[in-house]
C-alpha cells in the first residue's frame, strides 16, 4: 500500500477511536466527579437511601431510582402496545398510500424536540390529569403518557422496519397454506420480527430513562417514594437536571454520582440490546 493511503488509514482510525475515547472520557469524568460522594455516603446508603437532602449532605437516590423505573415502565406499558400495533398496521395492513401519509407523521413525532413535549405535557396533560383525578396533576402518569408518546416513533419505526424485513415469502408461505392474514401476522411475522421488536422496546426504554427536560416539566420532582401512579416523582435525570443549576460543591458531585447510576443503567440496557440476536432465526 502506498504511504499516502497508510496515513489516511491512520487518520480514519483516529476518527473511529474518538468514539471510544468519548465513552472512556465520559465514564472517567462522570466517575471521577461522582464517585467520591458515593464512596463517602456508602454505595448502599446512596442507592437505597430514601432521603435526598443535598444541602445537608444526605444523598439517598432510592426515590429517584424508583421514579425512573415507574415512569419508564408506565411509558412502556402505554407505548409498547400502541407502538407495535401501529407498526403492524403500517407494515401489514395499511394501504401503501395511507402508510405513505402516516410515515412522515411518525418521523415528525420523532423529530419534535423533547422540550416541546414537556411544554405540551405541562400545559395539557398535567391539567387534564388534575381535572380527572382531582389531584396535583404532576405525576408519574403524566410523565408516562408523555414519554410513551416520545418513545412511540422509536418503537414504531424499529418494529415496523423489522416487520418489513420479515421476508414477504414468510407471509406468502403462510397464506398459501390457507392461513388468515391475522394468523400469518401472529404466528409467523411477529415471531420472525421478535428480536427487532425487542430491540425497539429496549431502545425505547433507553430513551425513556434518559429523557430529562420533558420529565422535569411534568412529574413534579418530589424526592419521596411514590405511592401510586398518581404520585409525583423525580427521576434520575430529573434529579440532575433540576438541581444542576443550583448545586455546587459536594451537592454538585452528588449529582454526578446520580449520573453514574444513570450511566450504569443505560450501559446495562445497551448490553441487553446488543445481546439480542440481530438476525431472524438463530
Amino acid at each position: 500500500m502506498r504511504t499516502s493511503e497508510r496515513i489516511i488509514e491512520k487518520l480514519l482510525l483516529i476518527c473511529a477511536g474518538i468514539a471510544v475515547l468519548g465513552v472512556a472520557l465520559i465514564a472517567a469524568f462522570i466517575f471521577a466527579e461522582g464517585w467520591p460522594v458515593i464512596n463517602k455516603t456508602g454505595i448502599m446508603n446512596f442507592l437505597w437511601g430514601k432521603v435526598w437532602a443535598p444541602t445537608r449532605g444526605v444523598y439517598g437516590i432510592f426515590p429517584m431510582i424508583l421514579g425512573s423505573i415507574y415512569v419508564t415502565l408506565g411509558a412502556l406499558i402505554i407505548g409498547v402496545p400502541i407502538g407495535i400495533g401501529c407498526a403492524v398496521y403500517l407494515a401489514e395492513i395499511a394501504s401503501p398510500k395511507l402508510s405513505e401519509i402516516i410515515k412522515p407523521g411518525i418521523e415528525l413525532l420523532a423529530g419534535i424536540p423533547s422540550v416541546i413535549y414537556g411544554l405540551y405535557g405541562m400545559t395539557v396533560i398535567v391539567p387534564m390529569i388534575r381535572k380527572v383525578f382531582n389531584n396535583q396533576g404532576f405525576s408519574i402518569l403524566a410523565g408516562s403518557i408523555i414519554l410513551a408518546i416520545m418513545i412511540l416513533p422509536t418503537i414504531i419505526n424499529i418494529s415496523k422496519d423489522s416487520i418489513e424485513a420479515v421476508p414477504e415469502e414468510y407471509k406468502e408461505g403462510s397464506l398459501a397454506l390457507g392461513s388468515s392474514h391475522w394468523q400469518a401476522i401472529i404466528r409467523v411475522i411477529l415471531p420472525s420480527a421478535r428480536s427487532g421488536i425487542l430491540s425497539a422496546v429496549i431502545l425505547g426504554m433507553g430513551r425513556a430513562i434518559g429523557e430529562t427536560m420533558a420529565v422535569i416539566m411534568i412529574t413534579g420532582n418530589s424526592t419521596f417514594i411514590p405511592e401510586s401512579i398518581l404520585s409525583t416523582a423525580r427521576t434520575l435525570t430529573g434529579n440532575i437536571g433540576i438541581e444542576m443549576g443550583y448545586a455546587n460543591g459536594e451537592h454538585q458531585k452528588a449529582l454526578f454520582a446520580t449520573g453514574i447510576v444513570l450511566f450504569v443503567f443505560i450501559m446495562i440496557l445497551n448490553l441487553m440490546a446488543n445481546l439480542i440476536p440481530k438476525k431472524v432465526g438463530e
Binding site: N221, S222, I242, G245
Partner: protein, 271 residues
C-alpha cells in the same frame, strides 16, 4: 430565576484584550437575574460599548464565584452568612417572598406557624386552615435555591438536630426548578400553595398572594418588616469594584437604577 447553569468555578467568557475592560460577567441567583438583565439593558443603552454577560447559577454560585474572583460580580438572593462576610456587598433591592395560592382559594391569611406546618406536612388539608375540604398541594423550590434557602430560614423549616440543620420540608412536595415554574404550578392547581419572589409574583393575576400573620404582601409591608418573609438582593464583588463593574454598580445604586428596581416590583434598597 432561570434554571441556569451549574455553579462552581468561573464560567467566564474570554476577555477582550483591550486595556479598558469593556466586558464584565455576572452570575449567581436566578431570582436576581431578571432584575440584573433589566438593569444591564438600561445601562447598555447608555454605554453602547459595554458588554455584560449575565448567567444564572443560583445564589450559592454567585457567592462562591465572587469569592474566587472568577466573575466580576456575583448575585445572591439571601443574606450572607457570617463566613461569607469578607465580600464587598451591595444591596441593590429588597424582595419579599410571596406565599401564593390559586386565586379561587378561599384562604387569605396564614400564620408563619401554619405555613411551617403545611410545609412540614402537619397540616395537609385546607379546611384545617379555614379553607374548603381539599388536600393541600405543596410546591417548593429545589435544594440549593436561594429562595428556598431564605424561605425555610424565615419560616423556620430548618431545625437543628444535633450539630446539623435539617430541612424539614415535605419530601413529597412538588419541586420546581424556578420561580416561574412554581407560579405556573400554583396557577394551575386550585389546591396548591407555593412561594416565589414578590417582584415576580406581584403582577400575576392567576395567583393570589397570601397575608402572612395578617400582613399583606406589599412593598410597604415588606419595607417596614410587617410582612415577615423577605430577603435582600445582593451584588457581590471580591474587592472594591473598578472600571465597568464599578460603573455598573454605581448605575444600579443611582436614583435612575433604583427607579428601575422599583419598576420591577422590588423595593428600592436606596431610598
Amino acid at each position: 430565576g432561570c434554571s441556569g447553569q451549574p455553579a462552581q468555578n468561573e464560567p467566564t467568557p474570554e476577555q477582550p484584550k483591550e486595556p479598558e475592560k469593556q466586558s464584565i460577567v455576572i452570575n449567581g441567583s436566578t431570582s436576581v437575574q431578571p432584575l440584573a438583565e433589566e438593569l444591564s439593558n438600561a445601562f447598555k443603552s447608555k454605554n453602547p460599548n459595554a458588554t455584560i454577560d449575565i448567567q444564572g447559577g443560583g445564589s450559592g454560585v454567585g457567592i462562591k464565584s465572587a469569592e474566587d474572583g472568577v466573575v466580576d460580580i456575583g448575585m445572591s438572593s439571601r443574606d450572607l452568612k457570617p463566613e461569607e462576610k469578607s465580600l464587598k456587598e451591595f444591596k441593590i433591592a429588597i424582595d419579599g417572598i410571596a406565599v401564593i395560592v390559586h386565586p379561587e382559594n378561599g384562604v387569605k391569611d396564614l400564620t408563619v406557624e401554619q405555613l411551617r406546618k403545611i410545609y412540614t406536612g402537619q397540616i395537609t388539608n385546607w379546611k384545617e386552615v379555614g379553607g374548603k375540604d381539599a388536600k393541600i398541594t405543596v410546591v417548593t423550590r429545589e435544594e440549593g435555591s436561594g429562595t428556598r434557602g431564605a424561605f425555610i430560614e424565615l419560616v423556620k423549616l430548618e431545625v437543628t438536630e444535633g450539630d446539623k440543620k435539617v430541612d424539614k420540608t415535605l419530601a413529597s412536595a412538588i419541586t420546581q426548578g424556578s420561580t416561574g415554574a412554581v407560579m405556573i404550578t400554583v396557577a394551575g392547581d386550585a389546591n396548591a400553595i407555593g412561594f416565589a419572589s414578590f417582584g415576580s409574583a406581584k403582577d400575576k393575576t392567576d395567583i393570589k398572594l397570601i397575608n402572612i400573620d395578617g400582613a399583606e404582601c406589599s412593598e410597604e409591608n415588606i419595607a417596614t418588616g410587617t410582612y415577615k418573609i423577605s430577603r435582600p438582593f445582593l451584588m457581590l464583588t471580591k474587592d472594591e469594584p473598578t472600571g465597568l463593574a464599578k460603573a455598573f454598580l454605581d448605575f444600579i445604586l443611582s436614583a435612575e437604577g433604583q427607579e428601575i428596581v422599583a419598576e420591577n416590583n422590588y423595593l428600592k434598597a436606596v431610598k
